[in-house]
């Protein structure tokens, strides 16, 4: 690969920003670069990172999925409810994943066949899935104290926390899918120009349904990690997390217009947000400021991206 090609890779730039941030934070606080804090950070980042992978695919295709937080909660609640009646944890997990994928399928069908814009369709699902989670639980949080989920939430494998493996596998699979498969090519084509994609015979509707199913599936996967970490499934879990996932994708430099960007940058975007939160916590700065700062980072990220594309 030529040098110019590498230089134009968005991943290189965003990685540089992340490394710089890590260096600055490790100078500001001796506690930042400790094994304990890094473990903590990777656990914090894992949920948003998994959601951001799905969100990145959706945004590259020119869409948006606002329902991931609620779908996460619904999947978690289904897992919790099944554990409550002594269902095997593996089967409960599969059921949770199925529910998330199903919610994605519904999103996809409403968007393609119902011709409802993704923003509206997934906003509807945001309410529906959260409401169903509350209906199922009647508002109470189930405890999940089975070894399977406690292992996912707390154990380490080869010195690294288990949620990190979920993140790595997610990004590996999604990246390979997006860059080497026909489906991935279609995601970029649809995001580039949906009308052209349709004209050239791409099964746009079918591929869009798959895209939202993938996002739903990953929301459910995040629910599995979340259930492990909390050892419980409160129906109000992960409220507003969809905005964090979208922010991670945007900070990573994926174009909101669609058609451009790579999924891996969303992981770095999520990492940058987590580092800001974590760093300010360590430095003892009020969490109120964190929201202000992350808001500014989002705007600056898009502004820088605009500057780059104007060239």
């Amino acid at each position: 690969m030529q040098f110019t090609r590498i230089r134009s890779q968005p991943l290189v730039w965003i990685l540089l920003v992340a490394v710089l941030l890590a260096i600055v934070l490790s100078f500001l606080s001796p506690f930042f670069m400790t094994v304990g804090n890094m473990t903590n950070l990777s656990k914090q980042v894992s949920i948003v990172a998994i959601l951001a992978a799905g969100q990145a695919v959706v945004i590259i295709s020119g869409g948006i999925d606002l329902s991931v937080g609620s779908v996460l909660a619904l999947s978690a609640v289904v897992i919790g409810a099944l554990i409550q009646v002594d269902v095997d944890p593996l089967i409960a997990t599969l059921a949770g994943l199925a529910v998330g994928t199903l919610a994605g399928l519904v999103n996809g069908i409403v968007i393609t066949h119902g011709k409802i814009p993704p923003f509206i369709a997934t906003l509807g699902m945001l309410g529906i899935a959260r409401g169903l989670a509350l209906v199922i639980t009647k508002g109470v949080s189930y405890q999940v104290l089975v070894p399977f989920f406690l292992y996912i939430g707390n154990a380490k494998f080869l010195g690294l926390p288990i949620p990190l493996y979920f993140v790595v596998v997610t990004y590996l699979v999604v990246t390979v899918m997006l860059h080497t498969s026909v489906f991935g090519r279609h995601v970029y084509a649809i995001g580039g120009d949906e009308r052209v994609a349709r004209l050239e015979g791409i099964p746009v509707d079918r591929q869009k349904i798959k895209i939202y199913m993938l996002s739903g599936f990953l929301a459910a996967l995040a629910a599995v990690v979340m259930t492990g970490r909390l050892a419980a499934t409160p129906p109000s879990v992960a409220q507003g997390i969809e905005l964090q996932a979208i922010a991670a994708v945007i900070i990573g430099g994926v174009s909101f217009v669609g058609g451009r960007g790579i999924v891996l940058t969303a992981l770095i975007g999520a990492l940058i947000m987590a580092m800001i939160t974590n760093g300010l916590n360590i430095l003892g700065i009020s969490s109120f400021y964190q929201q202000v700062l992350i808001g500014m980072v989002i705007i600056v990220a898009v502004w820088l991206d605009n500057l780059k594309s104007q060239k």
């Binding site: 080497t180 498969s181 026909v182 489906f183 991935g184 090519r185 970029y188 084509a189 995001g191 580039g192 120009d193 009308r195 052209v196 994609a197 004209l199 050239e200 015979g201 791409i202 058609g259 451009r260």
Partner: protein, 256 residues
């Protein structure tokens, strides 16, 4: 040039109405291998409806289409494509965020078990562009960063890549500069040599006059005249487009 006896395409007695509006009445079109047929008419004359029926974007209310002498059922763009009919649109139908091979194979990607065969597609794209003498510096740059002419060349090369016999070019030079229009026309001559029949739709009378072998003029949804381009003067063509009245010619073949 003597046309081949069996036409590539015959559209017979085509009528089309949208509700109460009669867009086409008993319209005819014949296209022979290796010729450029100019379809002329002012806005609302029915030429775009006629072409859309052939490319599968619309279906005729009445009439029949024959491809190489056999009756063809065209009820969608994919049907038309299956008969070897491809369309090039004026508004450059490419995905700007993808490179040339990706655009060339869009919707018909080469793959093995769902995984893209990128090398094979790049190699084929190089060959396909080379066959038409299209020069593009690098295959793996986004087509958005290419010139209008290069992009139109990619459209054309995509359109003729998959066993195309009939190529509909809907104002292919409208969005291009003079040099680039010339390049597109040179490409079209190349395609003629390969025996592809080309339907050329344009508002530029000068271009049509110099470039097409035969013309058919539509007015009010009906054929005014069909015949070799050189049988008419440029002024006569303009007057027929405006008035809808055929200029009398001893040798002319106005319809059947």
């Amino acid at each position: 040039m003597m046309p081949d006896p069996t036409p590539l395409v015959e559209m017979r007695h085509i009528s089309k109405h949208f509700g109460g509006l009669q867009a086409l009445t008993d319209a005819q079109l014949e296209l022979y291998p290796g010729e450029v047929l100019g379809v002329l008419g002012h806005n609302g004359a029915g030429k775009s409806t006629l072409i859309k029926i052939l490319s599968g974007a619309e279906t005729a209310s009445e009439g029949a289409i024959f491809v190489e002498g056999r009756k063809a059922q065209i009820s969608g763009p994919n049907d038309a494509r299956a008969y070897g009919i491809e369309t090039i649109y004026q508004e450059l139908a490419l995905c700007g965020n993808l490179d040339a091979p990706a655009n060339l194979y869009m919707g018909r990607e080469l793959h093995k078990w769902g995984f893209l065969r990128k090398k094979a597609m790049a190699a084929e794209a190089t060959k396909a562009l080379g066959r038409l003498n299209i020069r593009i510096q690098s295959l793996d740059v986004e087509v958005d960063s290419m010139s209008g002419g290069q992009r139109q060349a990619i459209s054309i090369s995509r359109a003729v890549h998959f066993d195309t016999k009939i190529l509909i070019m809907d104002e292919p030079t409208a969005a291009l500069g003079m040099e680039e229009s010339k390049m597109v026309m040179e490409l079209t001559v190349e395609l003629k040599k390969q025996g592809i029949g080309i339907i050329w739709i344009s508002h530029d009378i000068h271009e049509v006059f110099n470039f097409t072998d035969r013309i058919t003029i539509l007015h009010g949804g009906k054929n005014v005249v069909t015949g070799p381009t050189k049988e008419f003067t440029q002024d006569e063509i303009v007057s027929m487009i405006i008035s809808g009245l055929a200029v009398e010619r001893r040798t002319s073949a106005a319809g059947d």
